[in-house]
Symmetry: D2
Subunit: 433 residues, 4 copies
Amino acid sequence: MIPRYSRPEMVSIWSPETKYRIWFEIEAHACTALAKLGVIPEEAAKNIWEKGSNAKFDVSRIEEIEAVTKHDVIAFLTHLAEFIGPDSRFVHQGMTSSDVLDTTLNVQLMRASDILIKDMDELLKALKKRAFEYKDTVMIGRSHGIHAEPTTFGLKLAFAYAEFSRCRARLVAAKEEISTCAISGAVGTFANIDPRVEAYVADQLGMRPEPISTQIIPRDRHAMFFATLGVIASSIERLAIEIRHLQRTEVLEAEEYFSPGQKGSSAMPHKRNPVLSENLTGLSRMIRSFAFPAMEDVALWHERDISHSSVERFIGPDATITLDFALARLTSVIDKLLVYPENMMKNLNKFHGLVNSQRVLLALTQKGVSREDAYRIVQRNAMQVWEHGKDFLQELLADPDVRRVLSEEEIREKFDLGYHTKHVDTIFHRVFG
Amino acid sequence: MIPRYSRPEMVSIWSPETKYRIWFEIEAHACTALAKLGVIPEEAAKNIWEKGSNAKFDVSRIEEIEAVTKHDVIAFLTHLAEFIGPDSRFVHQGMTSSDVLDTTLNVQLMRASDILIKDMDELLKALKKRAFEYKDTVMIGRSHGIHAEPTTFGLKLAFAYAEFSRCRARLVAAKEEISTCAISGAVGTFANIDPRVEAYVADQLGMRPEPISTQIIPRDRHAMFFATLGVIASSIERLAIEIRHLQRTEVLEAEEYFSPGQKGSSAMPHKRNPVLSENLTGLSRMIRSFAFPAMEDVALWHERDISHSSVERFIGPDATITLDFALARLTSVIDKLLVYPENMMKNLNKFHGLVNSQRVLLALTQKGVSREDAYRIVQRNAMQVWEHGKDFLQELLADPDVRRVLSEEEIREKFDLGYHTKHVDTIFHRVFG
Amino acid sequence: MIPRYSRPEMVSIWSPETKYRIWFEIEAHACTALAKLGVIPEEAAKNIWEKGSNAKFDVSRIEEIEAVTKHDVIAFLTHLAEFIGPDSRFVHQGMTSSDVLDTTLNVQLMRASDILIKDMDELLKALKKRAFEYKDTVMIGRSHGIHAEPTTFGLKLAFAYAEFSRCRARLVAAKEEISTCAISGAVGTFANIDPRVEAYVADQLGMRPEPISTQIIPRDRHAMFFATLGVIASSIERLAIEIRHLQRTEVLEAEEYFSPGQKGSSAMPHKRNPVLSENLTGLSRMIRSFAFPAMEDVALWHERDISHSSVERFIGPDATITLDFALARLTSVIDKLLVYPENMMKNLNKFHGLVNSQRVLLALTQKGVSREDAYRIVQRNAMQVWEHGKDFLQELLADPDVRRVLSEEEIREKFDLGYHTKHVDTIFHRVFG
Amino acid sequence: MIPRYSRPEMVSIWSPETKYRIWFEIEAHACTALAKLGVIPEEAAKNIWEKGSNAKFDVSRIEEIEAVTKHDVIAFLTHLAEFIGPDSRFVHQGMTSSDVLDTTLNVQLMRASDILIKDMDELLKALKKRAFEYKDTVMIGRSHGIHAEPTTFGLKLAFAYAEFSRCRARLVAAKEEISTCAISGAVGTFANIDPRVEAYVADQLGMRPEPISTQIIPRDRHAMFFATLGVIASSIERLAIEIRHLQRTEVLEAEEYFSPGQKGSSAMPHKRNPVLSENLTGLSRMIRSFAFPAMEDVALWHERDISHSSVERFIGPDATITLDFALARLTSVIDKLLVYPENMMKNLNKFHGLVNSQRVLLALTQKGVSREDAYRIVQRNAMQVWEHGKDFLQELLADPDVRRVLSEEEIREKFDLGYHTKHVDTIFHRVFG
C-alpha cells in the first residue's frame, strides 16, 4: 500500500482491526449456529457475542502472542479468551483456522468490490455527463495516430462509457466469484462440524456456502477476481493514454485540469503535463501485474498449502486499494477535463479538406467510375493539396474528370461534416439506452 | 502452434481457408443487407453469394497479391473479384477492413469457445464418473504436503469437478464477451454504411452488434477472453500437480495409465513417470502467459492502432489450440487414471493412528479437560507413537488420564474412519446436484 | 512460429533436421571421447562418425518410431542404428536422454544468440549512421508529451544506440549463461559416464561443462536468457513508439518509408500509417511475455521434472525467431526512415519562442532577481504569447523589468538554439567513442 | 511493503529520511562542482554543505509544502532553504528534478544491491556448510518425482550453491546496470549545466555518469535490474519447493526446524508443516511479478513521461525488501534444516534394489547381450520384485540368463552405492573450487 495512492475507506477494510472484527463475527456466528444445534450451550453463545462485541481488540497484544505461538488464529483466540472468560472454550469448536481466514478474505474482497462498484458508478456518471456535453463536438478520428475520418468527442466518451459498463458487469461477476464462505474443517469433510453451521454463517454474512472446499476456498475464484481487476486496469490505461495523446502539445484538444497553485512550469504556460493520466498509466501496470501471482496461487498442493497467503497479503490490499484510487482519480480527471473544441476543428482542417477524400472516392465509384480510375483522380487532386497546400474542394470543383460525373452540389455535399455525425444519436441510444 | 500439442478440429478454425471463408460470408451477408436497403442491386447480392459460395479461394494467390498491395483484405477482394466479375464492385461498399477482420476474429473465437466448452463437458463427465467410482475410497487428506485428516479420493475428484464447472461457466461468459460483430466503418460512425447492415450481419452470424466500435471491436473483450483462458489453465495445472504428487514413488496412490509399448523405463517398473501431467503443467504456463499481451492490447491509440494484430496472430491460435489439447489430454488422464486404494490405506495408516489425535484432543476438551491439559495428554501419547513406533490407540487405552474421562468405546470411536466420511453424500449432492 | 514474422536462417535452427544433426554430433563426439578413454573401440567411434555424417535422417521415420516408443531420443537412436549397424550399440553408452536434449537446446540457443548479436550489430550500424546524419538537426524535446527544450534528432538516435549497445552486451551475457554442456547421466552423478566425456564434448561444441547438473541443465540459465530477450523487446517497443509518435499527423517529424505499391490509402497522402512500428510494438509484447513461463520453469521438482519441455517447444523458437524478425524490421525502419527537419523546426517554433522561458528565468535569477520575482516576470510575458499569440522575444525586449537587468544582446542570446546543442559532440563522443 | 516480510536495514533505504538525505547530497555535491567551475561562489557551496549536513529534515513539513506545490523536489528545496538561507538560490542551478530523482533511485538500488549481495553471501555460506556436512549422505535421486538413481544430499545442496553463485553474479551485474548518475538537465542536453558537474557528482557517489540521458536515466536499466530479481526469486522458489518435497509425510528426508513454542499441531508430531518454504514460494511469485511492470516502464514517451514513477514507488521497495527477507529466511531454513539420513536410506531401499536395474542392464549389454534381450531379462526379474516383493539382487543371482554372462561378484558390484558417489569429490571441486 502506497499512502499517496490510497483512500481511507478502502484502506480500512484491510486494517488489522477490521480483520479481527470479522474473525470475531465469524466465530460468534458459528457459536450461534452450534448453540442452535445443541452442540454448545445457548448461554455461552450469547455471552460470546456480548463480550466480544464490546471488546476492543488490542492488535499489538495479539502480535505479541503470535510471536510465541507463530499462529495468528490461535493468538487471536487467546486474546479473545481474555475478554470472554471460560466460555471461550466453546469458540472455534470443530473449526480450523482456514475456515476463519478464508471466509474473512472473501468478506474483505466483497466489501472492496462494493467500493469498486460504487467507484465505477461515479466514473460512469462523469463519462455520461461529459459525453452528452460533447455529443456533437466534431473532431478528427485517428487510426494509427493518423487522421482518418471525423468523429465527435462525445463518441469517444461514449465508447469509454460502454467499456467501463462492461468493466462494471465484470466486477459484479468477480464479486460473485468470491462471495463464498467455508466452514468445513481440516480437509473440508465437515468431520468435526455440521455443514449447517457453514450454511448459517454464510447466510448471516450475505455469502453462499462454498459447495466443496478442502480446508481452503479454492483459489481459482481469487485468480478470476484479480484477473478481472487486471482487465479493468487495462481499460483505465486505455483512457489515460487517450487523454495523454489529446494533451500533446501539437494536438491540445483536451487537457487535465491544472490547479492555480500547481508549480513546476508556472512560467511555461504550454508546459501543462498530463501527470494524472501518466500516473494512471503506471498504476494500471501494477494492478495488471497482480493477476499473475494470483493465477500461480491456484495450483496449491493437495488439500492446501499456504503459499498463496503471502501473495494475498500483498495483492489483496494493493490491488483493491490501488484500483479504488485509480478509478477515483480517473473520475476526477474526466469530470474536470478541459476540452478545446476550436483546437479540434483546427486539427480537423489541417489538410484543407483531404479528410473527405474517401467520400469523394466512393461517390465516383458509385457513379460508375472504376475503382482504379477513381483512385487515380482523387489521388491527383490530393497531391495538389498535400504538396502545394491547395484546397481540396476547390481542386475537385476544377477537375473536369470529377465534374463529368459529380455536380458542384454533389461535391460540396461530400464536405459536409453532418455526414459523419448523422448516426451519433443512434449510437448514443445504443450505449446509454 | 506446436503440432504435437494440437488437434485438427481446433487447428482448422485458424487455417487461412477458414478465415477467407468467414471473410466471404461477412461480405456476402453485408451485400444482402445492402440490397435489402436498396443500396446495391438485389441481383448483384445474389450473384455474389452464388459465385462466392462455389469459389475455391486460392491462398497462395491471395498471398501473392498481398505481397504487392501489403494489405490483406484488398488482396482478398481482388481475388474474390476474379470469381465474381463486375458485381464485385458492390462488395465491401462503405465498409472498412477492420469490419471484416474483427468480426472474423470473433467468429473464430466463438467457434473455438464452442470446442472448448465441449472439451470441458468431456472433462466434467470423466471427473464425475471417476468421482462416483471412488466416492467412498478413504485416503489421507494433506495440508502443506503433510498428513492431516482422512478424506476420500472421490472428494478430490468432486472438488476438481466443481472447479471445472466454474471454469465452464467462465468460458461461457468469455464467449459472450467476444460474440459481437462490428460493421461501422472507418472510425465507427457508420458514416458510409447504415447501422442496419451491421444488425443484419450480426444476426446471421449469431452475434450481437457491438454497441459502439471505433473501426475496431474494443480489446477489453479479448483481454477478458484470454484472461479467462489463463485462469482455466491454472486450474488444469492444479489437477495436473495433484496427479504428479499422487504418483510420487513414496506416495503412489494413483498413476497415469502406461501403455504397453511405452519405453524408457521398461526395466524399471517403478519408473513410470507422470509425463502427461508434467506436460500439462508446462502447457498451463504457456496458456496463462498469453493473458498478459492480451491485456496490453487494450490500450490502443485513439480510434485504433494495429499493435494488437501481431499479438493476436500468436495467441488467437496458440491459446485456443493449446487449451483444447490440454483439456483433452487431462480428460484422458482422468479417464484412464490407475487408482490404488490399498496404497491409500497404507499411507493413511503410516503413523499408527496418529491421524486421529485431533479427534481425541477434541473429545477430551468436550469432557471438560482444559485445552492445555488435553494438549499435554495427547502429545505425551503421540510421542510414544512417533518416537517408538507404538500404536496410538493402545497407548490411549492404557493412559489413566485419558481413561478417567473417556471409555474404551469412546476412544475406539475416535478411530472410526466413518466419522470423516459421514458428509460425503451431502457434499456430492452439493456438487453434482 | 508465425511465418510472416520469421526469417529463414533463424527458423532453420529450430528445424527437426538441425535438431537431429546436433543430436548426432553430441552422440558422436561422446563416442570419440569414450574411445579415447578405452570404453568403446576406436573403430566403432570412427564408423559412427562416418556413417552418421553421411546419413540423411528421415524425420517422418523418426516420428513413426516415436509414436510407438513415446520417447524421442530412443526413436532417434533406433533410426540412427539403421545407418550405423551393429556399432550402434556403442552409441549413447552411459548417457541419458537429457544429456542430448539439454545440450542440444543450448547449442540452438547459442546459434540463435549469434544471429541476434549480428542483428543487433546491423541495428547499431543503422542507428549510428542516421544519428550522425541528424546530429545537429534541432527539434523540440518533449517530456510528458509536452514541449520542453530543444534537442537534436541525432541525440534521439544516439540515445537508442546507447540503449541497444546495452542490449547487445546483455545478449552476449545471456549467450554466456546458456553456453554449457551436460553429459552427466541420470541424476548428474556421472555414475555411468566419465566426466571427461562431458569435458571433451563441451570443448568440441565451444561450450563450458555445466559445473553441476541433475540430469538437466539448470533452468535458471534459461530464465535469465529469456528475461534478457524480454528486456530487449521492451527497448524495441520504446523506439517503435517513438517513431509512431513522430509520425502522428500533427507532429509528422519522421515517417516510415512508404513503398510506391503500398495501397490502402493511396488517395489519402496524409494516411501513411506507421504499421511497421505498430507491428513491432505488438511483437515486443509477445517476446516479453515469454519471460514469464521461462521463469516458472526454474522450479522443477528434485533432480528434474519435464514440465519445462513443452514451454521450451514454444518459446525456444518463438522468442528467438520473433526477436530476430523484430530487430531486422526495426533496422530497416531506421535505415529508411524519412526525416522532416522543416517540420521539426516548425513544431519547435509553435509557441513563438516560449520554449526559451526557462533560460530567461535562469538569467534573471543569475542577475540577482529573486526566484519568485523572476517567475512572475517571465510568466507575465509568457501569458501574452500564450493568450494573444504575441512573440516572446519582442515582449521581453519591451518589458522594463527585464531590461533593467538584461541587455538586448543578453535577451537575444537566450533565443540562440546553439545554446542547447553545444554539448552534442561531447555526448556523441561518450556514446560512439 | 508488508511489515512481516521486511527487515529494518533494507526498509531504511526506502524511508523518506534516507531519500531526502540523498537528495541533499546530490544537490550539495553539484554545488561543490559548480563552485569549482566558478559558476557559484565557493563560500555558498561550503555553507550549503555545512547547514544542510546539520539540518534535520522534517518529512511532514515537506509533505505540507508538496500538498500546495504538487511538486516534490520544489517542496524539498523550499524546506532546504529554510535551513540554508539566501545561499539556497545557488542550489539546483541548471538542474532538473529528474536529475535528483533518478540519481537517487539508483543510489537506493545500489545500496539495496549491496545488502542483497551480502544476503546472498550468507546463503552461500550456509549452503556450503551443509553441503560438505552431507557430501556423502546417499539418498535417492528423483526425476519426475519418481525414484531414479542414487545421489547425495550434499550434491543437492552443491547444486543450489552453484545456482545461487550464478544468482550472485547476476546481482552484481544488475547492480552495475543501475550504478549511473544523470545530471543533464531538462532533456539531457546539458544546456544549463556543465557535463563536468555530472562527472563530479557521479564520482562522489561511486557511480558512472549515464552516457546519454533524456531528463531521465533510461529504464531498460531498471527493467534488467528487476528482471534479474525475478530470476533470483525463481531460484529461491526451486529450493523452497525441494524442501517442501523432502518434508512430505511419505518422504520425510528433511524438515524445517520447528521451534519448541510453535503451536498448531503440538499434538500431532507428524504435523510439522514446511511453512517457511511455502511462504518463500509465495514471496517468489510476488518478486517475479514485479519484473513485468518494470519491463513495461521502458517504453516511455519521447524524452520522458512519468508513468514509471508510480510503478517504482511500489516495486523499488517491495522487490528489494521482499527479496532481502526471502534470502535471509531461506538462509535460516538451510542453516537449521533437520536432515534424516536414515529416512533417506529407507526410501532408497524401498524397492529392494530395483534402483540398480539400469546398471544391470548396462552390464548385460556390455557383455554382448543385445539391448532387446537385456531389457527382457532385467524386466523379468524386476517384475518379481515389483509384484511379489522379492529382492532384486537375489532374483538376479538366481537367473541363469544373467549368470551366463555375469559372475556373482559382478552382480553384487552393481548394488554398490559407491558406484554412484565416486565422482562427488570431482563435482564438489568444480562447484566449490
